[in-house]
Symmetry: C2
Subunit: 591 residues, 2 copies
């Protein structure tokens, strides 16, 4: 192959396809089969969360997987509809669809397409770092709260009643109003499936192993429990004509795959979807990359973060073109894919073929599937997202992080997913701004017997009565420019006899123009008060930058190679060099 490096980076499939062989094929095919069996009920269920007909979940599990197989860098990640993104889709699309199901599907397609464009654009601009601004406590709080919100939203299907609401309070109120209409057969099906699924989690694998099934096949079979529940409840509904007695069923589902279509370009709608789409894109990306990195670490593989943006972008564009809705990498199915032995992204493509097969031939069998069964699989799946352990741990580790987490949780409960996550993001950025505006700083003095200068609050040090010195631990830039100016000026309080202020620059790697101007202002303010400003231990690149300005000409004091040089030059009486051998003098002006 003569494909250049850049093209292979763009489509990693070109890198591994040429080495693809029979052994990898067999492994991938087996993994794909197992994931397909797990993904069919998940796809149907998550479509329900998104407020879409169940077959749309299958469509969302075909083309996007092929796109990821071409562009993705994880050998184990399985993409498709996931619970939290489906919930966000429902919250977004519901706002614009006016209750029209046809319109609802169109908007879901457009949303997937826009999410894809945003992800691809972020990847092209190498803006993956934006995902850093969802802090872990906020993501964790968001997922826990979403899990509870999703489970609450499914209770109506288990009760067999109509209810609505975007927030926990709204859902609870609506459920209370309709509770008296609860439908017993539906509740029995839903409750039975929930009980069965919880039972299989704990007992099915040991039971199978008792019957001689080996460890891994037993675990894999236990994963098929939701499919078993679906088959069983379809059989029950069919045998006892439960649909006639009021059990809500999925009903007629189109056979085959939808033809590929570009979503209609409707600028006012697209503009309105941009904000929610950005949120979905970022949350989907963060979740997916976490899963991919966890699994890649086990095989010592690398995930390319910018390429992942692009690959998830392609997957969502594919979802928007092929009749789906927003997708991302799912945790449970990726772990199954990994455990089942998937060796290349081809496993994802094979899974897509399996799902496409299901969409083409099996949908008529879904006619009698009770909605309560899907709701039950959702409830069991999402309640495992609820993570009280992390909450407890956060509380113990940091009250500030806990506050951010609870803001997100309560935001989601009270105002819904979008408002909740926005509250979390705004709080994250706010905390960042706050932190950036006050870097750590320390007044320093000489550690006796050395030429080291350390924090006066932490060490027994020698200080001068006329020369005050402060070390600022961080780059100087616009966010802390005012802090810098105030800190320097405050080093020489009126009437205390301070004649010189030394800024120890050992921890400063850059100074932007705002900080430079703050330095100039501080220099001028100190000068007007009769105090000289000096710098010590300025690093090379910072010195180069300062030389491009007039600051060094205006500086009232000097620039010293080391803090000791500065202090001993300015207060010779107090600071003495260490004699005779002095390793500390080997300190160049770079830390």
């Amino acid at each position: 192959m003569t494909v250049g490096r850049s093209i292979r980076d763009f489509a990693p499939i070109l890198r591994w396809a040429s080495r693809y062989n029979g052994a990898a094929f067999t492994d991938d095919l087996l993994a794909a089969l197992i994931v397909t069996i797990m993904l069919i009920p998940q796809s149907l269920a998550y479509a329900l969360i998104a407020g879409l007909p169940p077959e749309v979940g299958l469509y969302a599990s075909t083309a996007p997987l092929v796109a990821y197989a071409i562009f993705g860098t994880s050998t184990a990640l399985a993409v498709g509809p996931v619970a939290v993104i489906s919930l966000m889709t429902a919250a977004t699309v519901g706002d614009f669809a006016d209750g029209d199901p046809e319109r609802y599907r169109e908007i879901a397609l457009a949303l997937a397409f826009i999410v894809g464009l945003i992800l691809a654009a972020l990847g092209a601009l190498r803006l993956g770092f934006l995902a850093n601004f969802l802090s872990h406590p906020i993501i964790s709080g968001f997922i826990t709260a979403s899990g509870i919100l999703i489970a609450a939203g499914q209770v109506k299907h288990i009760l067999g009643v109509k209810a609505d609401g975007d927030s926990l309070i709204g859902i609870a109120r609506s459920l209370t109003e309709h509770a008296s209409a609860a439908h017993l057969p539906t509740m029995l099906i839903g409750g039975g499936v929930i009980a069965f699924l919880y039972w299989t989690r704990s007992y099915m694998k040991p039971l199978l192993m008792k019957f001689g099934v080996k460890d891994r096949p037993a675990a894999m079979t236990a994963r098929a429990a939701p499919l078993l529940a679906i088959i069983t409840t379809i059989a029950l509904v069919t045998a006892f004509h439960l649909a006639d007695s009021g059990v809500a069923i999925v009903g007629a589902t189109p056979k085959g795959l939808p033809s590929l279509t570009l979503p209609a370009f409707d600028w006012p709608l697209w503009r309105a979807l941009l904000g929610p789409a950005l949120l979905i894109a970022v949350i989907g990306y963060v979740e997916s990359v976490s899963v991919a990195q966890t699994l890649a670490a086990r095989r010592r593989e690398r995930i390319d973060l910018d390429q992942e943006l692009f690959a998830l972008g392609a997957s969502n564009i594919a979802a928007g073109v092929a009749g789906g809705f927003p997708v991302t990498g799912g945790f449970a199915r990726s772990v199954v894919n990994f455990d089942a032995g998937a060796r290349t992204p081809a496993a994802g493509a094979f899974t897509a073929v399996g799902i496409a097969f299901a969409a083409m031939f099996l949908t008529p069998l879904l006619f009698n599937l009770p909605k309560a069964t899907l709701a039950a699989t959702i409830i069991v799946a999402v309640l495992s997202l609820v993570d009280l352990k992390t909450m407890k741990r956060t509380w113990r580790y940091s009250k500030a992080d806990f506050a951010a987490m609870m803001t997100t949780v309560l935001g989601v409960f009270a105002f819904g997913v979008e408002a909740g996550v926005m509250a979390g993001v705004i709080l994250s950025i706010f905390l960042l701004l706050y932190r950036a505006s006050r870097p750590h700083s320390a007044v320093v003095g000489q550690v006796p017997g050395t030429e080291h200068f350390r924090n006066v609050l932490r060490h027994k040090v020698i200080t001068s009565s006329t020369v005050a010195s402060v070390r600022i631990d961080g780059d100087l830039f616009f966010a802390n420019a005012r802090f810098l100016e105030d800190r320097l000026v405050s080093m020489a309080p009126e009437g205390k006899g301070v004649t010189d202020v030394v800024l120890m620059c050992s921890a400063i790697n850059s100074i932007d123009l705002s900080a430079l101007e703050a330095l100039e202002t501080a220099n001028r303010r100190l000068k007007e008060a009769g105090v000289k400003l000096h710098l010590s231990e300025v690093k090379g690149p910072v010195m180069d930058a300062l030389k491009r300005s007039h600051f060094l000409d205006e500086l009232s004091g000097g620039v010293y190679l080391s803090e000791f040089d500065a202090m001993s030059a300015l207060d010779h009486a107090t600071f003495h060099p260490v004699a005779p051998v002095n390793a500390a003098r080997n300190t160049p002006s770079e830390a």
Copy 2:
């Protein structure tokens, strides 16, 4: 006086009023007289920029000054209407007033009131640090662009034509359309005043000094040139009945002061005004504080930044109650106040009395004032805001800062003030996020003959083939958590024989939960690859926090007091202690 400290902090007037004496009174009164003479034309002119009748400018220069005298901490700051804030007021109010002048005034009042509430709230919450996120290049670009935009917006009054537009392009297009209707007498007045004002700037003071006037009185008299221009052109219009021949005049102006009223509470309007009001508040605050700090430095006084928020808040609330519009501290008038010898904030209160006198008795004299005269004083005033020197200097110092500046300038020109400054703020926060997501880091090795470990790229150092060590220079938190994880894992590339990775923590002052989880993940990923993770030089508070988590139990490697201890323990063959006397061993685990 027995007033407690907290109350005196809240209203600094209580601190200086008890020491107030005759000498201070005389100085303040003289300064107030001079500022009043300067402020009358400015107030009239800036009301014109804000799209309000000229007398509203006078109202905005009364009560707000009294409020600042009570709550402010600067002895020299003169508040009132300023050009840039007036422009922002016009841009905001114009969007909501639907061309109804009565409604326009009401909204301007509400806007001032909301700006005041926001400033007071920021002060109460001690959120003054938010102002840090307007970087100097962005503020400088914004003011330069606003100056040009304001001047362009006044050209219509000089030409005596009707024109409109919010952006430079819009104004230019509108002026071109109407240029053929230009009115010669108006142009002569406007052009004459501009020429006169520019002449006085350079030649009036020397001329006065030639006639024996002393330096300071000569400078002060030159400052009265705009008032002279106003008197002269009123006389011309009156003498030659120029209003009849088409020169636009100010016309009937109400006499007296408006009664105090609370703006009507109209929630949809208030909510819509919140965003623009926040911008006006922050920009006004930044400008005002810069002026106050510059002048305070000359007298070695201190400005209390949070109290200033509160004082400007009170001034704007006063403006909203007393018939004005948003105000802040102005540069030129504060310098005049300072130079004229103002000793306490009482000078501001005396200025307010002067302006109130003008509003009560002099407004009938303004009937024949040509609008072209006011426009001319505006143009001369705002063109001095255009600061090409800073632009050049920014270009030389930093291309990134220059890009931020030009984004703001072009944003203001193309889309108006609000969009321009928002583009600047978003860019600022974006740059901050970007910077925060990748702290400086360095692979380190031993400086021969010492126990110091330094950047391998900058020093000739000894490194190990099996132990890789990296120093990260900055606090670890959510914004750089992913960077941290990747950096640590990338230290042990597959097949290079690295068995241990040491994170040197000398520059790390805090680790939040997101970063802790990133450390845990990196530890797990490295462990799965058979590599141990160690920490060195962990500071006390960081160690305390780590002990509250399970991280230290899970850590595959150890925690070492110094980098040298870690490296020599892990690769004894490569790293040797320095003999015999070794000052560097005196290094405690705090930097």
